[in-house]
Protein backbone atom coordinates (compact mmCIF):
# COMPACT_ATOMS: atom_id res chain seq x y z
CA UNK A 1 0.00 0.00 0.00
CA UNK A 2 1.45 3.38 -0.95
CA UNK A 3 1.91 5.44 2.17
CA UNK A 4 0.98 8.98 1.43
CA UNK A 5 -1.06 11.65 3.17
CA UNK A 6 -4.47 12.59 1.89
CA UNK A 7 -7.15 14.64 3.66
CA UNK A 8 -5.01 14.79 6.78
CA UNK A 9 -4.61 10.98 7.15
CA UNK A 10 -1.89 8.63 6.04
CA UNK A 11 -2.70 5.33 4.34
CA UNK A 12 -1.33 3.16 7.16
CA UNK A 13 -3.54 5.09 9.60
CA UNK A 14 -6.46 4.46 7.30
CA UNK A 15 -5.65 0.77 7.24
CA UNK A 16 -5.58 0.64 11.04
CA UNK A 17 -8.99 2.29 11.30
CA UNK A 18 -10.60 0.21 8.58
CA UNK A 19 -12.06 -2.44 10.90
CA UNK A 20 -13.24 0.16 13.40
CA UNK A 21 -14.96 2.08 10.61
CA UNK A 22 -16.75 -1.03 9.43
CA UNK A 23 -17.69 -1.93 12.99
CA UNK A 24 -19.17 1.55 13.37
CA UNK A 25 -17.03 2.62 16.27
CA UNK A 26 -15.54 5.67 14.55
CA UNK A 27 -17.19 8.97 15.19
CA UNK A 28 -16.64 12.69 15.02
CA UNK A 29 -13.57 14.15 13.40
CA UNK A 30 -11.89 10.74 13.10
CA UNK A 31 -14.80 9.44 11.05
CA UNK A 32 -14.85 12.54 8.83
CA UNK A 33 -11.12 12.31 8.20
CA UNK A 34 -11.41 8.60 7.43
CA UNK A 35 -14.24 9.14 4.94
CA UNK A 36 -12.40 12.04 3.30
CA UNK A 37 -9.27 9.92 2.86
CA UNK A 38 -11.34 7.12 1.36
CA UNK A 39 -12.82 9.49 -1.19
CA UNK A 40 -9.56 11.06 -2.24
CA UNK A 41 -6.98 8.25 -2.01
CA UNK A 42 -6.81 6.09 -5.13
CA UNK A 43 -5.54 3.08 -3.19
CA UNK A 44 -7.50 3.25 0.06
CA UNK A 45 -10.89 4.04 -1.52
CA UNK A 46 -11.12 0.81 -3.55
CA UNK A 47 -9.63 -1.11 -0.61
CA UNK A 48 -12.38 0.08 1.68
CA UNK A 49 -14.99 -0.91 -0.91
CA UNK A 50 -13.49 -4.39 -1.27
CA UNK A 51 -13.28 -4.96 2.46
CA UNK A 52 -16.85 -3.85 2.93
CA UNK A 53 -18.01 -6.07 0.06
CA UNK A 54 -16.12 -9.01 1.48
CA UNK A 55 -17.72 -8.55 4.85
CA UNK A 56 -21.15 -8.36 3.20
CA UNK A 57 -20.48 -11.56 1.29
CA UNK A 58 -19.58 -13.27 4.54
CA UNK A 59 -22.83 -12.10 6.10
CA UNK A 60 -24.62 -14.31 3.60
CA UNK A 61 -22.99 -17.36 5.10
CA UNK A 62 -25.26 -18.87 7.67
CA UNK A 63 -24.35 -21.49 10.23
CA UNK A 64 -24.55 -25.06 9.05
CA UNK A 65 -26.23 -27.77 11.06
CA UNK A 66 -23.85 -30.36 12.41
CA UNK A 67 -24.73 -33.99 11.72
CA UNK A 68 -27.25 -35.52 14.08
CA UNK A 69 -24.85 -38.24 15.11
CA UNK A 70 -22.04 -35.84 15.96
CA UNK A 71 -22.82 -35.49 19.67
CA UNK A 72 -23.28 -39.23 20.11
CA UNK A 73 -20.09 -39.95 18.23
CA UNK A 74 -18.17 -37.46 20.34
CA UNK A 75 -19.51 -38.88 23.59
CA UNK A 76 -18.87 -42.42 22.43
CA UNK A 77 -15.30 -41.58 21.45
CA UNK A 78 -14.55 -39.71 24.69
CA UNK A 79 -16.46 -41.33 27.53
CA UNK A 80 -17.44 -44.44 25.62
CA UNK A 81 -21.07 -43.82 26.42
CA UNK A 82 -23.76 -43.95 23.79
CA UNK A 83 -26.20 -41.41 25.16
CA UNK A 84 -28.92 -42.25 22.68
CA UNK A 85 -29.02 -45.79 23.96
CA UNK A 86 -28.90 -44.50 27.51
CA UNK A 87 -31.87 -42.28 26.87
CA UNK A 88 -33.82 -45.19 25.43
CA UNK A 89 -32.95 -47.28 28.46
CA UNK A 90 -33.96 -44.53 30.85
CA UNK A 91 -37.30 -43.98 29.19
CA UNK A 92 -38.10 -47.67 28.92
CA UNK A 93 -39.27 -49.53 32.05
CA UNK A 94 -36.40 -51.38 33.64
CA UNK A 95 -36.97 -55.15 33.68
CA UNK A 96 -36.24 -56.96 36.91
CA UNK A 97 -33.00 -58.88 36.78
CA UNK A 98 -32.72 -61.96 38.94
CA UNK A 99 -29.52 -62.98 40.67
CA UNK A 100 -29.25 -65.98 38.33
CA UNK A 101 -29.24 -63.68 35.31
CA UNK A 102 -26.68 -61.46 36.97
CA UNK A 103 -24.49 -64.48 37.69
CA UNK A 104 -24.87 -65.62 34.11
CA UNK A 105 -23.97 -62.17 32.86
CA UNK A 106 -20.95 -62.07 35.14
CA UNK A 107 -19.88 -65.56 34.10
CA UNK A 108 -20.28 -64.75 30.44
CA UNK A 109 -18.19 -61.61 30.92
CA UNK A 110 -15.50 -63.47 32.82
CA UNK A 111 -15.43 -66.38 30.40
CA UNK A 112 -15.41 -64.17 27.34
CA UNK A 113 -11.60 -64.21 26.81
CA UNK A 114 -11.36 -67.97 27.41
CA UNK A 115 -14.34 -68.68 25.20
CA UNK A 116 -12.88 -66.48 22.51
CA UNK A 117 -9.69 -68.56 22.54
CA UNK A 118 -11.55 -71.85 22.57
CA UNK A 119 -13.65 -70.85 19.60
CA UNK A 120 -10.61 -70.47 17.40
CA UNK A 121 -10.29 -73.26 14.79
CA UNK A 122 -6.65 -73.83 15.70
CA UNK A 123 -7.53 -74.61 19.30
CA UNK A 124 -10.40 -76.87 18.24
CA UNK A 125 -8.07 -78.80 15.94
CA UNK A 126 -5.46 -79.22 18.68
CA UNK A 127 -8.07 -80.36 21.17
CA UNK A 128 -9.44 -82.86 18.65
CA UNK A 129 -6.01 -84.30 17.97
CA UNK A 130 -5.27 -84.60 21.69
CA UNK A 131 -8.57 -86.36 22.28
CA UNK A 132 -7.93 -88.74 19.41
CA UNK A 133 -4.44 -89.57 20.66
CA UNK A 134 -5.73 -90.15 24.19
CA UNK A 135 -8.55 -92.42 23.02
CA UNK A 136 -6.13 -94.45 20.90
CA UNK A 137 -3.71 -94.77 23.82
CA UNK A 138 -6.49 -95.91 26.15
CA UNK A 139 -7.84 -98.45 23.70
CA UNK A 140 -4.31 -99.82 23.16
CA UNK A 141 -3.86 -100.05 26.91
CA UNK A 142 -7.08 -101.99 27.15
CA UNK A 143 -9.06 -99.39 29.04
CA UNK A 144 -12.72 -99.43 28.17
CA UNK A 145 -15.19 -96.70 28.98
CA UNK A 146 -17.46 -99.35 30.50
CA UNK A 147 -14.72 -100.14 33.03
CA UNK A 148 -14.36 -96.50 33.92
CA UNK A 149 -18.04 -96.32 34.67
CA UNK A 150 -17.66 -98.95 37.39
CA UNK A 151 -14.88 -97.11 39.14
CA UNK A 152 -15.92 -95.89 42.54
CA UNK A 153 -14.40 -92.60 43.64
CA UNK A 154 -15.10 -93.04 47.33
CA UNK A 155 -11.94 -92.65 49.45
CA UNK A 156 -12.24 -96.14 50.87
CA UNK A 157 -12.68 -97.60 47.37
CA UNK A 158 -9.66 -95.68 46.09
CA UNK A 159 -7.62 -96.93 49.04
CA UNK A 160 -8.80 -100.49 48.40
CA UNK A 161 -7.87 -100.22 44.73
CA UNK A 162 -4.45 -98.89 45.66
CA UNK A 163 -3.68 -101.79 47.99
CA UNK A 164 -4.99 -104.32 45.47
CA UNK A 165 -2.78 -102.90 42.78
CA UNK A 166 0.23 -102.88 45.09
CA UNK A 167 -0.39 -106.54 46.06
CA UNK A 168 -0.71 -107.49 42.41
CA UNK A 169 2.61 -105.89 41.59
CA UNK A 170 4.36 -107.62 44.50
CA UNK A 171 2.85 -110.92 43.50
CA UNK A 172 4.00 -110.47 39.95
CA UNK A 173 7.51 -109.69 41.15
CA UNK A 174 7.54 -112.74 43.37
CA UNK A 175 6.37 -114.95 40.50
CA UNK A 176 9.16 -113.68 38.37
CA UNK A 177 11.62 -114.41 41.18
CA UNK A 178 10.32 -117.98 41.44
CA UNK A 179 10.74 -118.48 37.72
CA UNK A 180 14.33 -117.31 37.91
CA UNK A 181 15.00 -119.64 40.80
CA UNK A 182 13.54 -122.61 38.94
CA UNK A 183 15.57 -121.76 35.88
CA UNK A 184 18.72 -121.50 37.97
CA UNK A 185 18.01 -124.88 39.61
CA UNK A 186 17.45 -126.54 36.26
CA UNK A 187 20.64 -125.08 34.96
CA UNK A 188 22.54 -126.33 38.01
CA UNK A 189 21.04 -129.75 37.57
CA UNK A 190 22.09 -129.89 33.95
CA UNK A 191 25.53 -128.75 34.88
CA UNK A 192 25.81 -131.57 37.36
CA UNK A 193 24.46 -134.18 34.97
CA UNK A 194 26.29 -133.22 31.77
CA UNK A 195 30.02 -134.31 31.63
CA UNK A 196 32.68 -132.05 30.31
CA UNK A 197 33.82 -132.91 26.84
CA UNK A 198 37.34 -131.66 27.07
CA UNK A 199 39.33 -128.67 28.04
CA UNK A 200 38.75 -125.71 25.92
CA UNK A 201 42.32 -125.53 24.70
CA UNK A 202 42.27 -129.12 23.49
CA UNK A 203 38.73 -129.31 22.25
CA UNK A 204 39.16 -126.35 20.03
CA UNK A 205 41.82 -127.11 17.52
CA UNK A 206 43.56 -124.24 15.96
CA UNK A 207 41.03 -122.82 13.66
CA UNK A 208 42.08 -121.70 10.32
CA UNK A 209 41.54 -118.15 9.62
CA UNK A 210 39.45 -118.48 6.51
CA UNK A 211 39.40 -114.87 5.82
CA UNK A 212 43.16 -114.49 5.90
CA UNK A 213 43.91 -117.71 4.14
CA UNK A 214 45.71 -116.86 0.94
CA UNK A 215 47.26 -120.25 0.29
CA UNK A 216 44.49 -121.32 -2.06
CA UNK A 217 44.67 -124.80 -0.52
CA UNK A 218 41.46 -126.79 -0.26
CA UNK A 219 39.85 -126.51 3.09
CA UNK A 220 40.27 -129.56 5.33
CA UNK A 221 37.10 -131.13 6.51
CA UNK A 222 36.30 -130.95 10.17
CA UNK A 223 36.73 -134.23 12.01
CA UNK A 224 33.87 -133.59 14.28
CA UNK A 225 31.00 -135.95 14.81
CA UNK A 226 27.93 -133.77 14.58
CA UNK A 227 25.73 -136.64 15.63
CA UNK A 228 27.03 -136.22 19.12
CA UNK A 229 25.55 -133.57 21.19
CA UNK A 230 27.59 -131.61 23.67
CA UNK A 231 25.59 -133.12 26.44
CA UNK A 232 26.40 -136.68 25.48
CA UNK A 233 28.70 -138.72 27.54
CA UNK A 234 32.18 -138.96 26.08
CA UNK A 235 34.23 -141.99 26.95
CA UNK A 236 37.98 -141.79 26.92
CA UNK A 237 40.52 -144.59 27.30
CA UNK A 238 43.93 -144.24 28.78
CA UNK A 239 46.55 -146.85 29.78
CA UNK A 240 47.08 -147.18 33.40
CA UNK A 241 50.77 -146.93 34.16
CA UNK A 242 53.80 -145.11 33.03
CA UNK A 243 53.49 -143.30 29.83
CA UNK A 244 56.78 -144.72 28.48
CA UNK A 245 56.97 -148.46 27.85
CA UNK A 246 60.29 -150.02 28.92
CA UNK A 247 60.79 -153.55 27.57
CA UNK A 248 63.70 -154.22 29.89
CA UNK A 249 61.82 -153.29 33.02
CA UNK A 250 60.64 -155.96 35.47
CA UNK A 251 57.86 -153.87 36.76
CA UNK A 252 54.56 -155.68 36.25
CA UNK A 253 52.92 -152.43 35.53
CA UNK A 254 55.32 -151.71 32.71
CA UNK A 255 53.56 -153.64 29.99
CA UNK A 256 53.40 -153.46 26.33
CA UNK A 257 50.60 -151.11 25.33
CA UNK A 258 49.75 -153.25 22.36
CA UNK A 259 48.91 -156.12 24.61
CA UNK A 260 45.17 -156.52 24.66
CA UNK A 261 45.08 -158.17 28.03
CA UNK A 262 45.68 -154.96 29.87
CA UNK A 263 42.77 -153.70 31.96
CA UNK A 264 40.71 -150.81 30.58
CA UNK A 265 39.80 -147.89 32.85
CA UNK A 266 37.04 -145.54 31.85
CA UNK A 267 37.39 -141.82 32.73
CA UNK A 268 34.53 -139.51 32.55
CA UNK A 269 35.12 -135.91 31.68
CA UNK A 270 32.68 -133.14 31.70
CA UNK A 271 32.19 -130.56 29.21
CA UNK A 272 31.44 -127.23 30.54
CA UNK A 273 28.24 -125.50 29.77
CA UNK A 274 28.67 -122.29 28.03
Amino acid sequence: MPDHTSSGMQCHEFDGLLTDALDGVLSGVQLDTFQAHARTCSACGPLFAEVEAGRNWLKDLTEVEPPVSLVNNILASTTGVDTQRLRVNVSAPQPRITWVERAQAWASGAMQPIWGTVRQPRFAMSFGMAFFALSVALSVAGVKPADLRQISLRPSAIRHTYYNTQARVVRYYDNIKLVYQVQAAVRELKRNVTPAESRPGESAPAKKDHKNDTTQQPEQKQDRNYSQNENHLILACAPLGPSVFDPMSQDPLNQDPLNPDLPVVSVTTYRRFV
Binding site: D15, E50, V51, G54, D60, V64, V71, N73, I74
Partner: protein, 191 residues
Amino acid sequence: MLVRRCVAGDAAAWEEIVQTYNRRIYNICYRFAGSADDAEDLAQEVFIKIYRTLASYDSSKGAFVTWVTTITRNLLVDHFRKTKQDRITDSLDATTSAHEDAQPLSEQIQDQSAPPDQHVRSREVQESVHAALARLSPELREAVILRDLQDFDYREIATVLKVPEGTVKSRINRGRAELARLLQRTYRQVM
Protein backbone atom coordinates in the same frame (compact mmCIF):
# COMPACT_ATOMS: atom_id res chain seq x y z
CA MET B 1 -18.14 -24.65 37.27
CA LEU B 2 -19.13 -26.91 34.40
CA VAL B 3 -15.51 -27.65 33.67
CA ARG B 4 -14.78 -28.38 37.32
CA ARG B 5 -17.65 -30.83 37.48
CA CYS B 6 -16.45 -32.47 34.33
CA VAL B 7 -12.90 -32.79 35.63
CA ALA B 8 -14.35 -34.34 38.78
CA GLY B 9 -15.82 -37.08 36.60
CA ASP B 10 -19.34 -35.83 36.05
CA ALA B 11 -20.41 -37.35 32.73
CA ALA B 12 -23.48 -35.13 32.55
CA ALA B 13 -21.28 -32.04 32.72
CA TRP B 14 -19.19 -33.29 29.83
CA GLU B 15 -22.29 -33.99 27.80
CA GLU B 16 -23.46 -30.47 28.49
CA ILE B 17 -20.17 -29.08 27.24
CA VAL B 18 -20.46 -31.14 24.08
CA GLN B 19 -24.04 -30.04 23.54
CA THR B 20 -23.08 -26.40 24.03
CA TYR B 21 -20.01 -26.21 21.84
CA ASN B 22 -20.43 -28.85 19.14
CA ARG B 23 -22.24 -26.49 16.77
CA ARG B 24 -19.65 -23.76 17.05
CA ILE B 25 -16.71 -26.10 16.68
CA TYR B 26 -18.28 -27.97 13.80
CA ASN B 27 -18.91 -24.70 11.93
CA ILE B 28 -15.35 -23.50 12.45
CA CYS B 29 -14.07 -26.83 11.18
CA TYR B 30 -16.47 -26.83 8.25
CA ARG B 31 -15.55 -23.33 7.11
CA PHE B 32 -11.86 -23.96 7.55
CA ALA B 33 -11.64 -27.47 6.12
CA GLY B 34 -14.24 -26.93 3.40
CA SER B 35 -15.96 -30.32 3.51
CA ALA B 36 -18.59 -31.75 5.82
CA ASP B 37 -16.83 -35.10 6.24
CA ASP B 38 -13.56 -33.48 7.25
CA ALA B 39 -15.43 -31.14 9.57
CA GLU B 40 -17.11 -34.02 11.37
CA ASP B 41 -13.86 -35.88 11.85
CA LEU B 42 -12.05 -32.75 12.96
CA ALA B 43 -14.79 -31.78 15.39
CA GLN B 44 -14.56 -35.21 16.99
CA GLU B 45 -10.81 -34.86 17.25
CA VAL B 46 -11.20 -31.44 18.82
CA PHE B 47 -13.53 -32.78 21.49
CA ILE B 48 -11.27 -35.72 22.19
CA LYS B 49 -8.41 -33.29 22.70
CA ILE B 50 -10.55 -31.07 24.90
CA TYR B 51 -11.62 -34.07 26.95
CA ARG B 52 -8.03 -35.15 27.51
CA THR B 53 -6.71 -31.68 28.36
CA LEU B 54 -9.69 -30.34 30.23
CA ALA B 55 -7.83 -30.40 33.54
CA SER B 56 -5.26 -27.97 32.14
CA TYR B 57 -7.83 -25.24 31.54
CA ASP B 58 -7.15 -22.16 33.65
CA SER B 59 -10.14 -19.84 33.93
CA SER B 60 -7.91 -16.96 34.99
CA LYS B 61 -6.24 -16.94 31.58
CA GLY B 62 -9.38 -16.54 29.53
CA ALA B 63 -12.89 -17.65 28.82
CA PHE B 64 -13.62 -21.29 28.22
CA VAL B 65 -14.90 -20.57 24.73
CA THR B 66 -11.60 -18.90 23.86
CA TRP B 67 -9.71 -21.92 25.18
CA VAL B 68 -11.91 -24.26 23.19
CA THR B 69 -11.50 -22.18 20.04
CA THR B 70 -7.74 -22.06 20.53
CA ILE B 71 -7.63 -25.85 20.66
CA THR B 72 -9.81 -26.01 17.58
CA ARG B 73 -7.64 -23.57 15.68
CA ASN B 74 -4.43 -25.37 16.63
CA LEU B 75 -5.83 -28.68 15.52
CA LEU B 76 -7.06 -27.16 12.24
CA VAL B 77 -3.64 -25.69 11.56
CA ASP B 78 -2.04 -29.07 12.27
CA HIS B 79 -4.53 -30.68 9.93
CA PHE B 80 -3.79 -28.09 7.29
CA ARG B 81 -0.06 -28.72 7.57
CA LYS B 82 -0.55 -32.45 7.32
CA THR B 83 -2.73 -32.19 4.24
CA LYS B 84 -0.71 -29.42 2.64
CA GLN B 85 1.17 -31.83 0.43
CA ASP B 86 -2.10 -33.30 -0.83
CA ARG B 87 -3.41 -29.87 -1.68
CA ILE B 88 -0.23 -28.95 -3.52
CA THR B 89 -0.68 -32.07 -5.62
CA ASP B 90 -4.32 -31.23 -6.23
CA SER B 91 -3.48 -27.67 -7.17
CA LEU B 92 -1.62 -28.87 -10.23
CA ASP B 93 -5.01 -29.51 -11.75
CA ALA B 94 -6.68 -26.42 -10.32
CA THR B 95 -5.75 -22.76 -10.46
CA THR B 96 -4.04 -21.08 -7.55
CA SER B 97 -4.80 -17.70 -6.08
CA ALA B 98 -1.90 -16.23 -8.05
CA HIS B 99 -3.53 -17.26 -11.31
CA GLU B 100 -7.12 -16.40 -10.71
CA ASP B 101 -7.64 -15.23 -14.28
CA ALA B 102 -8.06 -18.82 -15.39
CA GLN B 103 -11.63 -19.16 -14.13
CA PRO B 104 -11.01 -20.27 -10.56
CA LEU B 105 -14.61 -20.58 -9.40
CA SER B 106 -16.77 -20.32 -12.48
CA GLU B 107 -16.81 -24.08 -12.95
CA GLN B 108 -18.31 -24.47 -9.52
CA ILE B 109 -20.96 -21.75 -9.84
CA GLN B 110 -24.09 -22.10 -11.86
CA ASP B 111 -25.36 -19.35 -14.17
CA GLN B 112 -26.71 -16.61 -11.90
CA SER B 113 -28.82 -14.93 -14.54
CA ALA B 114 -31.93 -17.01 -14.14
CA PRO B 115 -32.16 -18.56 -10.69
CA PRO B 116 -35.18 -20.77 -10.17
CA ASP B 117 -36.06 -19.06 -6.94
CA GLN B 118 -34.58 -16.95 -4.23
CA HIS B 119 -33.84 -19.88 -1.96
CA VAL B 120 -31.82 -21.66 -4.56
CA ARG B 121 -29.96 -18.48 -5.39
CA SER B 122 -29.16 -17.90 -1.75
CA ARG B 123 -27.85 -21.44 -1.45
CA GLU B 124 -25.71 -21.01 -4.54
CA VAL B 125 -24.31 -17.74 -3.24
CA GLN B 126 -23.44 -19.42 0.00
CA GLU B 127 -21.70 -22.21 -1.88
CA SER B 128 -19.71 -19.74 -3.92
CA VAL B 129 -18.69 -17.74 -0.86
CA HIS B 130 -17.76 -20.95 0.92
CA ALA B 131 -15.67 -22.00 -2.07
CA ALA B 132 -13.98 -18.59 -2.19
CA LEU B 133 -13.27 -18.75 1.53
CA ALA B 134 -11.55 -22.06 1.06
CA ARG B 135 -9.19 -20.40 -1.40
CA LEU B 136 -7.89 -17.89 1.09
CA SER B 137 -4.60 -18.50 2.80
CA PRO B 138 -4.98 -20.17 6.24
CA GLU B 139 -3.86 -17.05 8.12
CA LEU B 140 -6.45 -14.85 6.44
CA ARG B 141 -9.12 -17.54 6.51
CA GLU B 142 -8.93 -18.23 10.23
CA ALA B 143 -9.03 -14.53 11.06
CA VAL B 144 -12.06 -13.92 8.85
CA ILE B 145 -13.89 -16.99 10.16
CA LEU B 146 -13.36 -16.04 13.80
CA ARG B 147 -14.40 -12.45 13.24
CA ASP B 148 -17.18 -12.56 10.67
CA LEU B 149 -18.62 -16.02 11.25
CA GLN B 150 -17.99 -16.63 14.94
CA ASP B 151 -18.24 -13.01 16.17
CA PHE B 152 -15.13 -13.11 18.28
CA ASP B 153 -13.72 -9.72 19.31
CA TYR B 154 -10.24 -8.76 18.27
CA ARG B 155 -8.69 -9.48 21.64
CA GLU B 156 -10.07 -13.00 21.67
CA ILE B 157 -8.87 -13.57 18.15
CA ALA B 158 -5.45 -12.26 19.11
CA THR B 159 -5.42 -14.72 22.02
CA VAL B 160 -6.45 -17.61 19.84
CA LEU B 161 -4.05 -16.81 17.01
CA LYS B 162 -1.28 -15.64 19.37
CA VAL B 163 -0.66 -12.49 17.33
CA PRO B 164 -1.13 -8.78 18.18
CA GLU B 165 -4.51 -7.15 17.68
CA GLY B 166 -3.15 -4.94 14.92
CA THR B 167 -2.06 -8.03 13.00
CA VAL B 168 -5.51 -9.52 13.54
CA LYS B 169 -7.21 -6.45 12.09
CA SER B 170 -4.84 -6.36 9.16
CA ARG B 171 -5.46 -10.03 8.39
CA ILE B 172 -9.21 -9.57 8.62
CA ASN B 173 -9.11 -6.64 6.19
CA ARG B 174 -6.88 -8.47 3.74
CA GLY B 175 -9.02 -11.56 3.98
CA ARG B 176 -12.24 -9.71 3.31
CA ALA B 177 -10.70 -7.80 0.40
CA GLU B 178 -9.25 -10.98 -1.13
CA LEU B 179 -12.61 -12.72 -0.80
CA ALA B 180 -14.40 -9.83 -2.47
CA ARG B 181 -11.93 -9.81 -5.35
CA LEU B 182 -12.37 -13.55 -5.88
CA LEU B 183 -16.15 -13.35 -5.88
CA GLN B 184 -16.35 -10.20 -8.02
CA ARG B 185 -14.08 -11.77 -10.62
CA THR B 186 -16.13 -14.93 -10.61
CA TYR B 187 -19.47 -13.21 -11.00
CA ARG B 188 -18.11 -10.88 -13.66
CA GLN B 189 -17.09 -13.91 -15.71
CA VAL B 190 -20.37 -15.70 -15.18
CA MET B 191 -22.45 -12.67 -15.96
